[in-house]
């Protein structure tokens, strides 16, 4: 019972961060049909910027989001303006050029980080880094709780924008049918820039969050990008609930396998990778595909 509670709570806490990390990829994919391989590099860069703000100006990492979010939004808009926008338009599957280009951006960011901060492992040690509190009878780290709070707020804000504002509805419209959006007077190019900015800001929120939980080097972010891919393949790229469900499934599997099997936690990356392959082979439509099948089966019986 105690163990189950622990697994469930840890699942929820991890899933918040995983979802935040994945939405950045998903909104960009939805609007532009681009898989942003630079996502990992942007998370890493945000971790270093948070680190720099903490060591230089003693700015609390969570407070530094006030600087990091607008900064990375702007960086995303510029990246779109000068790099991504030059790609040929695609409406179907992502092109090879887009994958290579954004992979290149990732490499540039990595080398930039090596040049600025060397390859040494860094970490952020705040007075509360090692503190923990008891919640529902389970001990959880204070940073983990704060990270969850930040994720929950970001997701609520994103959901509000997508559902309630003209801008957010336009983003959903381009995602669901780009031509129809153009024909309704939506400026897809401007919208793409804003979306790339927002996706980058979400990468930054994830990066800052991760920097309070883990040590990092310029190579940081790769395994989290893999998790995000796994979540998106599971949950589908186009639905808000799908991504949330994907994040919950992955987080649950990681925590459950760690608690109830002898698989060591150092194998966590292998879990997401195995899951990714299994899903791609067995249910390429992901959870939405399964949900549709169940609905059809229930309707017919």
């Amino acid at each position: 019972m105690q163990e189950l509670r622990e697994v469930l709570l840890n699942t929820l806490l991890a899933a918040g961060l995983y979802a935040t990390m994945s939405y950045g990829l998903a909104v960009i994919y939805g609007v532009m049909r681009i898989i942003n391989l630079a996502h990992a590099g942007l998370m890493m860069l945000a971790a270093y910027v948070t680190f720099a703000l903490y060591t230089r100006y003693e700015m609390d990492p969570f407070l530094s989001l006030v600087v990091v979010i607008p900064l990375f939004f702007l960086l995303g808009v510029l990246l779109h303006r000068f790099v991504v926008r030059r790609l040929p338009r695609t409406t179907g599957t992502p092109t090879m050029q887009s994958l290579l280009l954004l992979f290149g951006v990732w490499l540039v960011l990595q080398n930039l980080a090596y040049a600025l901060w060397t390859g040494d492992t860094q970490s952020i040690l705040t007075p509360y880094t090692l503190k923990s509190v008891t919640l529902l009878g389970v001990r959880v780290g204070v940073p983990n709780l704060l990270v969850f709070g930040v994720s929950a707020l970001s997701l609520l804000a994103l959901n509000f924008v997508l559902k309630r504002t003209y801008l957010g509805r336009a983003i959903r419209a381009v995602t669901q049918n780009r031509d129809a959006a153009l024909l309704s007077g939506i400026d897809a190019d401007r919208l793409s820039a804003i979306t790339f900015g927002a996706g980058t800001a979400f990468a930054a929120i994830a990066g800052t969050s991760l920097s309070t939980l883990y040590a990092f080097t310029p190579d940081f972010g790769r395994s989290f990008l893999l998790k995000a891919f796994c979540i998106i393949v599971l949950g589908g790229m186009e639905s808000f609930t799908g991504v949330a469900a994907g994040a919950l499934v992955l987080a649950f599997l990681e925590n459950a396998l760690a608690a109830w099997t002898p698989i060591p936690t150092s194998f966590q990356d292998a879990i997401s990778f195995t899951l990714l392959v299994l899903v791609l082979v067995a249910v390429p439509q992901g959870l939405p595909g399964i949900a549709r099948k169940v609905a059809r089966w229930r309707a017919s019986s």
Binding site: R169, A180, L183, S184, A188
Partner: protein, 239 residues
């Protein structure tokens, strides 16, 4: 002066030419219909007018202004709106969201509430379905929603690509009736329609496209009596 003047446009898909030297005029306040066999280039013509495709040659004037090569959202802002083939609604959004997004442009957004009432007046069925996802509407309701969304943009010139496709005869009549109403409210209409006899009956003028060229044009009543039109396009429609 004509509201729309198309002067010798050539349009290509890659290296394949779909439209050759097409020219025609549309005067304000009329309904013009474009007739042609499958693959003649009707949809391509409309897509080019709406800015989804760029002509390689020729010019398009709208309200006397050269609009060749403008982006779709610029054209919508000027009042040139296309309701595309196969409706193209946003299936995961509600009817209301679909309609409201139709009024995305600055000009249309200001008049949104009033336009919405006009649309409900024309299609009362939509009011009953407001909170339903557009993807779950029946074919006829989807078409009403698509026309409604186009009207929300406050068009001066409305282009429609086969609005009656796949509808039951009663709904076809309803859609055609709504086009008359739309014209009577001062909106100029260009209609592409497989249902040639219906289209000629409500249109003021018509022209025929054959493999990307305009081969015939004139008042709709005259074309309806034309031998060549009767043989090629009215044969099975009236049978």
């Amino acid at each position: 002066m004509s509201l729309l003047e198309v002067r010798g446009i050539d349009v290509f898909y890659g290296n394949v030419q779909a439209i050759r030297e097409v020219s025609f005029d549309v005067a304000g306040g009329e309904i013009v219909t474009v007739i042609g066999a499958n693959g003649a280039g009707k949809s391509t013509t409309l897509k080019t007018l709406a800015g989804l495709m760029k002509p390689r040659k020729g010019t398009i004037l709208f309200g006397g202004k050269d609009v060749t090569g403008l982006a779709p959202f610029d054209l919508v802002e000027l009042g040139l709106v296309l309701i595309p083939e196969a409706r193209q609604l946003w299936p995961g959004m509600t009817v209301l969201e679909n309609l409201e997004l139709g009024a995305y442009g600055k000009r249309a957004r200001r008049e949104r509430a009033g336009t919405l009432e006009t649309v409900f007046g024309m299609f009362p069925r939509l009011r009953e379905r407001l909170r339903q996802n557009a993807g779950t509407l029946s074919g006829g309701e989807q078409q009403m929603c698509a026309i409604g969304r186009g009207l929300m943009a406050r068009p001066k010139l409305l282009l429609l690509d086969e609005p009656a496709l796949g509808l039951a005869p009663m709904l076809v009549r309803e859609v055609f009736k709504s086009l008359r109403t739309i014209r009577d409210q001062g909106v100029t209409v260009v209609l592409v329609e497989q249902n040639v006899s219906h289209a000629l009956a409500i249109a003021d003028r018509a022209f025929v496209l054959e493999t990307g060229r305009v081969t015939l044009s004139g008042p709709a009543r005259e074309l309806a009596r034309d031998r060549r039109v009767k043989d090629s396009y009215l044969g099975f429609a009236s049978a």
